[in-house]
Every structure is written in structure tokens, then in C-alpha cells.
């Protein structure tokens, strides 16, 4: 089989190269310029390459190349015990790692059939919404930078630092968080963490209002973004758009409402949608989502239920260290979990969460072993980035940069 494929492969490859060279030659005859944007261009905020065919300032065609930071997570996951896969998910959308972590935990919990206590679910909601705020905050402020407004970026970046302080208090890490465990959280929210969240809820609305004031009705910003990189709802759905980018086109699909997980149905919030699906609409949708996230955090923070912060699942949830030293059962479970000697039941699950960029799905096939038989990540960035060519065609180069920023393509999630 391998040999057959090999010949098919090389033939196809040669054919592709011939075709590509031909195409480039054709384009040369038309006096078009070939421009190599990336892979390490600072304006792309990540490692993507786009070979553009330019007619003056206008983009006629683009060939995107991805895979520069592909790390084979799906393959690596097939050899790791379930709890060691969480750090891999951090590194997909590194702007909102807690959402990835918890999406993965919920997938495994679904496979194992573990019920999570309300308190743990609420803590998860708080952390996930904080992650969403930090994700949207980066996207929108970078959009400002790309259209020439650096101030707002530095101003809200400080707030991201405060969010990272909260992460640090909850799980010890700031960027690649590895937050929570299969079965709940690793520890309860400490008084300091609660204090930091309270402070954030008080301080952040003012900051975000000022940021909005700087950009939303700013003449230069509007001129640069309205009508830029627009896509219709039909095309967006065909391209598999989800998240803020889909909602900007006017489709109100949000996983938190459609398939509520982790007690999202307990909270009051709205799903902002746009109308034209252009860069400005994407900016507005993300802005409004930040307000809605704040609303959710406030509700969860006020109504944080009493109870345990993790499920009673000794086979999968690491026991507290104190018990490991003093109790035989805890020691056994600790050893078995750490050595990866826990068999998961046979099964097949799909779970999706609303990630920073859309429906982040985990398709897990277990054959009853200690590692997943197959773990597939549905990465929203990977799926919608293929529409980028269509969105920038006929536009100007400077607009292509803005479109890329407003799509919030995260290289780690794109390449997995």
C-alpha cells in the first residue's frame, strides 16, 4: 500500500508543480507582480505565507501556504494518557487556552460519563469567559494597530495581564495554562483569585468603554474597515465559518446557546450578530461579545454555588497530595493515574465548545485502552482560513492585512 501511494504521490506532486509553474508564467505575461507575504512578516501576526499576484495595489490571486508550526498533536495524542493531552490543547489557540483545556476535559468526561458539580462548572464558565475576553481583546486591539492606532492596544494589553494574573492564581501558569483536570478543577478558587476577579469586574468595563470610544466611531477606522473583507452568510456557512466571524454575517449560531455545556443555560446573555460580514462587523461583534462575557462572569461570580470543585471520580481525578501520603487508596490511584494505567471505556464522543474563534470540537474515539485511539480536533481557524483567498481578492494589500487580523487566525490553532 505504501509503495502504491508513493508513486501516486510523486506523480501528483510533479503535476501540481508543473501546473503551478505554468500558472505563474501566465500571470507574468499579464504584467502582474508576484508578492510574497510572509511567512514571517510582522503584519501577519503569526506564521502564514501568502503568495499574492498583484496588479498594482490590487490583489488578483493568492495562494496560502500553512503548516509552518504543525506539531502533529493528533498523532502525539494517540500515544499519551488522557491527562497528558491537556497541555497539547493549550498550544492550539494560545490566546484562549483555558477554553481549549476545558473543552478537552469535557470531552473526556463525556466519554467517562462523569457528572461535574455545579461549583466546578461555574468556575469553568468564569475562566472560559475570561479567556474569551482576552482573546477578543487581542484581536480587536491588533486590528487597531493594523489600521494605525497603537495606543488602544497597549492600553488594553494591561488588562490582559490582569486576566493572566487570575489564571496564575488559579492554575499557576499564564499563557499555556493546562487549567483544570478531567473531573473538575485542580483546586478551588482561592480568596485571592476571587478578589482578583472582583477587581477585574470593577475595573475592566471602564477600560473597554474607553477602547470602544477610541475606535468604534473613529472616522479613520471606519474608512479602513467598512466593506473590507466582506463575506455573505451563504458563503460563510459553506466555508464552515463559526464563532464571531459567522455571527458578523448575520447567522446567530453560538454553541453556548445551541448545545449548552457547563451550565451555560443558567446565565442570561445575548448573542450579538452583524449584518454585512465585513471587518467592521466582526470588530463590533467581538466588542459586544466582550460585554456579554462580562455579564456572564458577573452572574457566575455572584451566584457561585457552594460544593465541591471536582467530581467524585477517584479513577480519573488525582487525589490531594496530603491523602497520597496518608491513605493507601489515594496512593494507588495516584500511582495509576500518573503512570497512565487507567483504561478508558470504549466509545466515541464529539463535544464542542464555543472557542474564541468558533466551534472548537473534539472527536474522540476510544478502543478501551489507555490512550485515545483517535483524537481529532475541529479547529475553527483551520476551517475558515481557507476562505481568506476569496475574501481578499479584488481588494488592496493593506486591506488584506486588516482582514487577516479581523478573522483572528491563530497560527497554533491553524496548524495544530
Amino acid at each position: 500500500m505504501a509503495t502504491d501511494n508513493k508513486t501516486a504521490d510523486t506523480d501528483q506532486l510533479q503535476e501540481f508543480r508543473d501546473n503551478r509553474d505554468l500558472k505563474l508564467q501566465d500571470k507574468k505575461n499579464e504584467n502582474l507582480t508576484t508578492l510574497n507575504l510572509g511567512p514571517t512578516h510582522p503584519a501577519t501576526h503569526g506564521i502564514f505565507q501568502n503568495i499574492l499576484q498583484m496588479d498594482g495595489e490590487v490583489i488578483m490571486d493568492a495562494v496560502p501556504t500553512i503548516g509552518y508550526i504543525h506539531r502533529a498533536f493528533e498523532k502525539i495524542a494517540e500515544r499519551r494518557p488522557f491527562y497528558q493531552i491537556t497541555p497539547l490543547t493549550d498550544r492550539m489557540n494560545y490566546c484562549s487556552s483555558p477554553i481549549n483545556n476545558m473543552g478537552y476535559h469535557m470531552t473526556v468526561e463525556k466519554l467517562l460519563g462523569i457528572e461535574i458539580p455545579k461549583r466546578a462548572q461555574y468556575i469553568r464558565v468564569i475562566m472560559m469567559e475570561l479567556a474569551r475576553i482576552s482573546d477578543h481583546l487581542i484581536c480587536n486591539s491588533i486590528l487597531g494597530v493594523d489600521s494605525g492606532a497603537f495606543t488602544g492596544f497597549l492600553y488594553v494589553m494591561q488588562e490582559r495581564e490582569h486576566i493572566y494574573d487570575i489564571y496564575e492564581e488559579v492554575c499557576g501558569a499564564r499563557l499555556t495554562t493546562n487549567m483544570g483536570r478531567i473531573g473538575g478543577m485542580e483546586r478551588d478558587l482561592s480568596p485571592k483569585a476571587l478578589h482578583l476577579i472582583g477587581e477585574f469586574l470593577k475595573r475592566f468595563p471602564k477600560v473597554w468603554a474607553e477602547f470602544e470610544k477610541m475606535l468604534t466611531r473613529n472616522r479613520i477606522f471606519i474608512d479602513r474597515t467598512v466593506g473590507v473583507g466582506a463575506i455573505t452568510a451563504e458563503r460563510a456557512l459553506s466555508y464552515g465559518f463559526t464563532g464571531p466571524n459567522l455571527r458578523a454575517t448575520g447567522v446567530d449560531y453560538d454553541v453556548r446557546v445551541m448545545n449548552p455545556y457547563s451550565s451555560y443555560d443558567d446565565f442570561e446573555f445575548e448573542i450579538p450578530i452583524g449584518a454585512k460580514g465585513d471587518t467592521y462587523d466582526r470588530y463590533l461583534v467581538r466588542n459586544e461579545e466582550v460585554w456579554q462575557s462580562l455579564k456572564i462572569i458577573e452572574q457566575a461570580y455572584k451566584n457561585l454555588p457552594e460544593g465541591s470543585y471536582h467530581a467524585d471520580a477517584p479513577h480519573y481525578y488525582l487525589p490531594p497530595k496530603q491523602e497520597v501520603y496518608t491513605s493507601m487508596e489515594a496512593l494507588i490511584y495516584h500511582f495509576k493515574i500518573v503512570m497512565g494505567e487507567i483504561d478508558a471505556p470504549k466509545g466515541e464522543v464529539y463535544h464542542c465548545v464555543e472557542g474564541g474563534n468558533g466551534e472548537l470540537g473534539f472527536y474522540l474515539v476510544s478502543d478501551g485502552g489507555r490512550t485515545p485511539y483517535r483524537l481529532h480536533f475541529r479547529r475553527p481557524c483551520f476551517i475558515y482560513y481557507q476562505a481568506y483567498t476569496e475574501m481578499i481578492k479584488g481588494g488592496q494589500l493593506a486591506d488584506a492585512i486588516l482582514t487577516l487580523s479581523s478573522l483572528n487566525v491563530i497560527a497554533g490553532e491553524l496548524d495544530a
Binding site: 501516486a8 506532486l13 464542542c352
Partner: protein, 168 residues
């Protein structure tokens, strides 16, 4: 019509026959069934066009390799979503490894373009009619399809690695 797993399955079997829609089960609330590669495009097109179902969103595609299933080593999983009715379903197609050919879905869903390239890249699926079937995440010169089970990951506990290369 209320979209329950039984209703949808009955409707599909009535349309395509029991020899085309089989092995239906429900692992996690999402109905899963198997079809043949001859029927897959017609089936997905039918799901797309049908007024009651309106399954018009391709959530994801994932290849799976079962080296022990003789004659149907490779599995392609299509997961579809009817946003109108919030109904998800999962379709599987099993094909032999010697003949990993499937028809392309790019004429129905633009999103299938890169998903199929990914499946080709990692599992070696050949999608007939695909506009640009080349590797997407791995380098073009790669000579194998790395997600197949015959390529195991390195044993992390082996001791014959030469650590001096890595400065350890």
C-alpha cells in the same frame, strides 16, 4: 417532522435502502451510521436539499485507520449539522487501504477543500474531483501518510537515543 434519530434514519433508509444505510448506532447522542462510497455524495446532497432536514453545515471530517479490519481499513467520518433544527449526525464510510478513493465533497461544501487535503495528507485518501489535492500541513516531499497506524510514535522511554545531538 420532529427530527429524532429514529425519524431521520427511517427517512434515509426509505430513500436509499437498507443496503446503503446500515450499522446505525448512537454512541453519544449523535446518530452514527455507515454508508458506501457510491452513495456518500448523493446522501449528503439529499440531506442538504431536503426541506425537512436542511443539513447544510459540514462540521468536520476525520479519517480513522483500523489496520485490523481487513478490506475496510480506512474510515472517513463526516459530521454534519442542521443549524435550522440543531440536529447533528455522523456518517462513516469504510474503504480498503489498497484503494483509498472517495468522491470529493467540495462541490457541496467549500469547507471540504482543506478538510480533504488534510485527510489526504495524513491518511492518503484520494478524493476524485478535488480541485487541488496536495499536502496541506506536512511538506510536499513527504513520502508517507503519518497518521496511519503503521507509523508508531517513538517510545519515550527508549535509551538508545544519542542525547549529545540535543545537548542533553
Amino acid at each position: 417532522m420532529e427530527l429524532t434519530n429514529e425519524n431521520v434514519l427511517g427517512k434515509l433508509i426509505a430513500q436509499f435502502g437498507e443496503e446503503s444505510i446500515f450499522d446505525a448506532y448512537n454512541p453519544d447522542g449523535i446518530m452514527t451510521f455507515t454508508t458506501t462510497r457510491e452513495n456518500i455524495i448523493a446522501l449528503i446532497q439529499y440531506l442538504y436539499d431536503d426541506k425537512d432536514l436542511q443539513v447544510q453545515f459540514l462540521t468536520t471530517m476525520a479519517g480513522i485507520h483500523f489496520p485490523d479490519h481487513k478490506g475496510k481499513e480506512l474510515c472517513m467520518m463526516y459530521q454534519l449539522h442542521s443549524l435550522r433544527h440543531n440536529y447533528r449526525l455522523r456518517i462513516k464510510v469504510f474503504i480498503p487501504a489498497e484503494d483509498p478513493v472517495l468522491p470529493t465533497l467540495t462541490n457541496i461544501y467549500a469547507a471540504a477543500n482543506w478538510m480533504e487535503r488534510e485527510a489526504y495528507d495524513f491518511y492518503g485518501f484520494i478524493f476524485t474531483g478535488h480541485p487541488n489535492l496536495i499536502r496541506i500541513l506536512n511538506i510536499e516531499e513527504m513520502e508517507y501518510h503519518p497518521m496511519l497506524k503503521q507509523y508508531p510514535l517513538e517510545d519515550q522511554t527508549r535509551e538508545d537515543k544519542i542525547d549529545t545531538y540535543f545537548g542533553r
